[in-house]
Subunit: 430 residues, 2 copies
């Protein structure tokens, strides 16, 4: 399935020098985000209609490797309205169903999932949001009135309405018939053609209430969109420390880093080097170094979230990145325990610290190993039990170092991790 993106309009309410589709938004331009979202959902080809400052947009997109085939159509009459722009794509798309998107609407890529499925009655369909309170700028939104599940009117100034048009459409070639008719009558907006389809009873609705989407039209909506994007970076698998502490800080770091050239793998390596440094501090054994090392460990733990956040924001997550990150994490975990054990030993000598350190290392490792094996064998994640993901383990280490209780730290890690591994091994059986 192909997509049609309307990126010809002006968007005069944003205070910026770029044309609206090129609005920078956390490391990518708005239109790049739309294109990468399409790619993520399996769309391999898109047609982009440009108008206002057309060549800038085309040039910018051409120099960027998007991994999706782009065809550009220039519409010199863009000022008339977006219906005219959509009609320009007729020669390319008139024989197929396609997705129609606005070049200034940001959305959660998952919103496209129910859309790409063909409907039985061969009607064009509009994505609607029924949660009017969640619509960012309701006054400016295109409203839809619905009766018994059927759309009966559309427009910005409806008095009675039940939902809002999200600016995404599943189109059948019929849309071009409607556009041809309305444009020839001097009605140049896409909404005019949609209204025509409604009157002919040829429009379906698809309810995507609950999914995020926003029409980026003002500075305020741009700011809100950025915040929502950053909020979406948390993962459902995040542990408690990650959720309550790390993510809150890492998002701010990510917001800065994503605008730079730093790659996610570079961030993984920096977080690892911080752990190397803190392990050296730990190995010195005196309390002031333990304190510094503990703080560094927690900071590295926070930074450890940024690599994935940047990758997801830029749509460049890779299997290799996840692989590298997890290998570095295991070495980091080991170095911390070795550093702590060595630092304790040079001041206190004796067997105990090595024995406890060994069992802490074994527990931490087998815990991570069961996660990986479980995933490899059963192709799903084990998520119940004691929450001992890395955020929690590093937090235990940081606190233990700061309060200078190495043996107790090792004991806690050993008991919790090994107990949890045994629990998993027993319960997985059933």
């Amino acid at each position: 399935m192909r997509a049609l993106i309307l990126a010809a309009g002006r968007g005069s309410r944003l205070q910026q020098s770029e044309p609206k589709p090129l609005t920078p938004l956390l490391g990518l331009t708005l239109i790049e985000r739309i294109i990468f979202s399409l790619k993520q959902k399996g769309i391999a080809e898109a047609v982009v209609v440009t108008g206002y400052r057309s060549s800038e947009i085309i040039e910018k997109l051409k120099e960027r490797e998007t991994g999706i085939k782009l065809t550009f159509i220039e519409n010199p009459e863009w000022e008339k309205g977006n219906g005219v722009s959509a009609l320009r794509a007729k020669p390319i798309l008139e024989n197929e169903d396609f997705l129609l998107l606005m070049g200034d609407h940001l959305f959660d890529p998952d919103i496209l999932e129910p859309v790409s499925k063909k409907n039985d009655n061969d009607k064009t369909a509009v994505l609607i949001d029924r949660d009017l309170n969640s619509v960012f700028d309701l006054e400016d939104a295109t409203k839809i009135q619905i009766k018994d599940g059927v759309p009966v009117d559309i427009g910005k100034n409806l008095e009675n309405y039940d939902a809002v048009d999200c600016g995404i459409f599943y189109c059948t070639p019929e849309i071009f018939t409607a556009l041809g008719r309305t444009v020839s009558e001097g009605k140049y907006q896409l909404t005019d053609a949609i209204q025509y389809l409604i009157y002919k009873d040829r429009l379906d609705i698809r309810d995507v209430t609950g999914r995020f989407w926003i029409d980026i039209d003002t500075e305020k909506s741009l700011k809100y969109a950025k915040q929502r994007l950053l909020d979406s970076l948390s993962k459902t698998t995040d542990g408690a420390i990650s959720r309550l502490l790390n993510r809150r800080i890492s998002k701010h770091i990510t917001r800065q880093l994503v605008e730079t050239d730093i790659t996610p793998n570079m961030v993984s390596i920096i977080a690892f080097l911080l752990i190397v440094l803190s392990s050296v501090f730990f190995a010195l054994g005196e309390w002031v170094y333990l304190l510094a090392g503990g703080i560094l460990v927690q900071f590295s733990s926070i930074l450890d979230g940024c690599d994935g956040e940047i990758a997801r924001l830029r749509f460049i997550g890779s299997g290799y990145g996840a692989f590298l990150d997890s290998i570095l994490d295991r070495y980091a975990d080991s170095l911390i325990i070795f550093g702590l054990a060595y630092g304790y030993w040079i001041h206190n000598e004796g067997l105990l610290v090595w024995a406890l350190g060994f069992f802490a290392l074994i527990g931490v490792f087998v815990f991570s190993y069961t996660n990986a094996r479980y995933e490899a064998i059963f192709e799903s994640s084990e998520s119940r039990g004691i929450p001992l993901r890395r955020d929690m383990r590093l937090f235990i280490v940081a606190i233990g170092a700061i309060i200078n209780q190495i043996l107790i730290t090792f004991l806690v890690l050993s008991v919790l991790t090994n107990f949890e591994v045994i629990r998993r091994t027993v319960t997985t059986r059933h």
Copy 2:
């Protein structure tokens, strides 16, 4: 797709008390092996025609949970010939394509893969083996003469022949027409119906040359079949020590254990307990204990192959078994290193053994971890590089303990495993 198994004949040349389909063969009866092979290849339902000592076979199969739906047909006229037995299944299978198998033929389950695919011309097809030298008892085999890819004659006593009938058929309902005709003419063998199809140009051939199959008719063929089954237990991923040493011994142990009630998981646990014992020996630190521990480690390494071998022989391999085995292996690896370090330390004290032990443990763990992560992320195995699978690592430990060189053993393990992990992390990038 359903299967039809002919298990009505007598098989008088085997010196045993059981009817032929109940011949014990490494923990399962011959007909159970056939049924589990079908199940492994996705067949969910089979029709079994019995005759000679019918009730014994039915009773035996009914008391066993095969996980495949079985329907039994008793053929009182079984002594006439197997064509009569096959014809008995007509009321059940006359409207569908099905697999036809002999209840006394053992085969590599993979032989069924090209069979289950329907052919275009709607002909019945016979599986053939063109490698006449590999046929176990060529004299007794059913031969097929082929001209220009088309079968032209079939029979035990053909003078000119190009291949041998493996006793497995992809049947269309046409087979019942052929059987009805030949049986009514007093020709009671399945081969008669196949010959009829050949004369009518309604038989296809499917070449499965290279796949193992055998008609179990004599004590000699039974013995050969057992040997081939045991040989098939080696895995393509086996390391050098496994291939050259462990498998050669583990097969003999498995051959004994598979006839008992011992489960694969019990074997995993016994192998683990042997490692616990050897770690206790190692922890005592004196050479005589190291020697004993080293030998025990190598024996446990051999036994570690038996759990999977028994599981595969009995068709009871499970995700949980693989999970449990790998978790126990990681704890075993850890205990060995801890035992060796402790045993060395009580006699020599000092930091060095703990430091080296730590890095050996880290290397061994991260090595196993990269395997699991690689599999989870890329859904394939990393198999290049230094061969450091568990067979090799335990061999290094066993030799190191026997020659009483703990520090060198740790050093070798640390350097090799960590080097290999780094190599993988770098090369996986490309």
